[in-house]
């Protein structure tokens, strides 16, 4: 297995097959380091790999005999070869649930699967991306793991840093709901409330990175973003391996910044290039909530640019009004023959209940968005019900209980058989 060691400044970093950072726009390459924007054109930097020397069947065997978490794919990630031996929270290898009951309700005949990332350690897909950022932080000698967050990410960073023995410092709007504060604070890191909204928090974090006070700090979704984002590739790897090393025909992915969808596409392309799956067409569909649907709006209008929106939806984990990777999402949806669609908050709630009622999976609002969009796209004939379809659930319903707060008792009775019968329950 080729392991690339790259010099950055005075130190050398070992991030496995990660060879350099490469600009997605202009292709300009720089050595691996804690940078995220191209110095030439300000485009986003992403990881360029050296996969040369990989034998397909050797690689497949190595993956299959690897641990039951994302580190089975270490040869394809920006992490050192011994990553599985280090203390981290080992996310991934979540269930791919064959959703036959849901398929019947939606009229899908070609096989419907839910990739259920609520099974991750802090119950969202964020554990996957934070795990990559943690390795980069270690490689660059950072001692504090940080982020701006309004929810899932705060918990993922707090948990990962705790286990790794790093300091964590998470910034959130000071008036966040108490439940979310508790989830973020319980891991014992610094949790700092910023007097302002989420935009103010982000702006402050960018200032901190440029200041001496931020030295030694790895912001998982800012200066470690190129590494962080690669974690989403593992969703693509797992789906294909769990399907028996086969590409799904159709995959429905939620869109917040759009990064997850673009990295899933990158992951699928890598599997094809490495010969791990047969090269045949697949379609990627993006899912948004109507109250924050800048990419869906652009897709339907045939635009290449995404006009920012002010979010107003219960799907808060997807509520990014100005999604950085929006244009790439449009490109991928169009290139693969997919689409981007949105659903109302009412449809989100109905979809959460539909998934729970049919498959026993309690999804976060983001999962309601993907299931709702899947239903809408089938009803409108855009998704082919005769094809193998994978729907992502990226989070846990326990984190967004408010969305289904209307759900309650079907009856209240006295503790007697007569009362039971009167209620028509017999």
């Amino acid at each position: 297995m080729a392991v690339q060691t790259v010099a950055t400044g005075s130190s050398t970093v070992d991030l496995g097959p990660a060879a350099a950072l490469s600009c997605r726009e202009c292709g300009h390459r720089v050595p691996l380091g804690p940078v995220f924007a191209c110095e030439e054109c300000f485009g986003p930097l992403e990881i360029a790999y050296d996969f040369s020397g990989y034998d397909t069947e050797e690689l497949r065997a190595r993956i299959e005999s690897g641990p039951a978490n994302i580190w089975r794919y270490a040869p394809l990630l920006p992490v050192p070869a011994n990553v599985a031996d280090k203390p981290n929270i080992n996310p991934g290898w979540t269930k791919l649930v064959k959703a036959d009951n849901l398929a019947r309700e939606l009229g899908v005949t070609g096989g419907l699967y839910v990739k259920d990332d609520s099974g991750n350690p802090t119950h969202s897909f964020k554990d996957r991306v934070v795990a990559q950022a943690l390795e980069a932080a270690r490689a660059f000698g950072f001692t504090t793991l940080s982020c701006s967050s309004t929810g899932n990410l705060a918990g993922a960073v707090g948990a990962a840093a705790a286990r790794a023995g790093l300091r964590s410092c998470v910034f959130i709007p000071h008036d966040l709901e108490q439940g979310k504060v508790v989830m973020a604070a319980v891991y014992g890191g610094e949790l700092v409330g910023i007097e302002g909204n989420y935009d103010d928090v982000n702006r402050f974090c960018s200032e901190l990175i440029g200041d001496p006070a931020g030295e030694g700090w790895g912001f998982v979704n800012v200066n470690l973003r190129p590494y962080y984002a690669e974690g989403s590739k593992t969703l693509a790897y797992e789906v294909c391996e769990q399907l028996g090393w086969r590409l799904p025909d159709q995959i429905v992915v939620p869109i917040a910044s759009g990064s997850q969808l673009t990295k899933i596409d990158k992951g699928l392309q890598e599997l094809i290039r490495l010969g791990l799956v047969e090269d045949r067409p697949y379609k990627i569909f993006g899912a948004q909530a109507e109250g924050c649907s800048p990419v869906s709006t652009a897709f339907k209008a045939g635009h290449d640019v995404v006009r920012p929106q002010k979010p107003d939806t219960i799907a808060k984990s997807l509520a990014i009004g100005n999604p950085a990777d929006g244009p790439y999402v449009l490109d991928i949806a169009r290139r693969t023959g997919g689409a981007v669609e949105d659903v109302t908050d009412e449809q989100v709630v109905a979809a959460i209940k539909l998934l729970a009622r049919t498959e026993g999976i309690f999804a976060e609002t983001a999962g309601g968005v993907t299931v709702g969009v899947t239903k809408k796209l089938i009803d409108s004939g855009v998704l082919d019900p005769a094809k193998t379809t994978v729907v992502l659930n990226t989070g846990d319903g326990l984190k967004t209980l408010d969305a289904v707060a209307g759900t309650g008792l079907t009856a209240t009775i006295r503790p007697t058989l007569d009362s039971f019968r009167e209620a028509g329950l017999a």
Copy 2:
């Protein structure tokens, strides 16, 4: 693999190696059926197996090549051989986390592990037991899955029934917190509030089982209890397999009814008898909250009987004041050289935070009880820090957020670097 088919009344049931029900007190055997108390002496019935014809290495290989859930142990459970092909929520094979940070804080040198059952589909160990009850319900032709519950069990039953396509009807006290009602209701089954407390709910359920209105109903923790309880054996199997087919020296288990602890002991004994682990001494320790510590009280007093208590603790999932299996727990703790200990609610909260801060695991109050008791037993010299020790976390902190509601922001600042420095965070 020997599969036993047993005639019960007019039907035959295939529950794999389960051969009969046997009274734990008097040994009286009856055919497999939806009964839970001995007709001779009213003792509890449990499953008697036919494991004859199992070759140790063949069995081990079969388990190791099985699915990454409890069904890898199907040859040792009261389920049909094809159980993994049926729609169920496939719990188990949760992480055994090597807790080196926690070990350092507690002074454990012999290896400390947390068996983290928050990774189950509905985030508690209840998924393991409900999965067994579901197979029994199918075998006996029941069409409704039911239980009395105040929390974790309601969600586990609702989810399992939804996925299996069975009706569910769960009974809860009518004044339960709204969050718990939502978690139980979202799966779409009947959720019935009983005007009364948990005792009233239980009494009503027992009445319903004896009434024609309850025909076709499987109450997972009443008439299906012998099957249900066996699910806890899988915790023992997994711990040993994950340790490399080795018994832990010491294991710390929470006590509610005591059933889990007794079945873990049963599971360990089976592994020894089947030759899957080396036969050497192990100690089982029971953990209770001080506010509901009938077993711990009896253990310390040297009693063989357990005097009921009125529960008053934040560890509500353990708050059974009159634990049915209490005497068996006392027996096992004494026989193995273990102990039963309890901790205060303050110690429970401190232990939840300790586990989160050191290992990034956010435990339910029951996990705070086991970690707290582990610390107390090490401090008092009862647990040997030089031995391999496994601590169970049976649930998820997201379900008992109130317990750590005092956790919050470490600082609040304005979105400026000056404010950041003033707060001493740099």
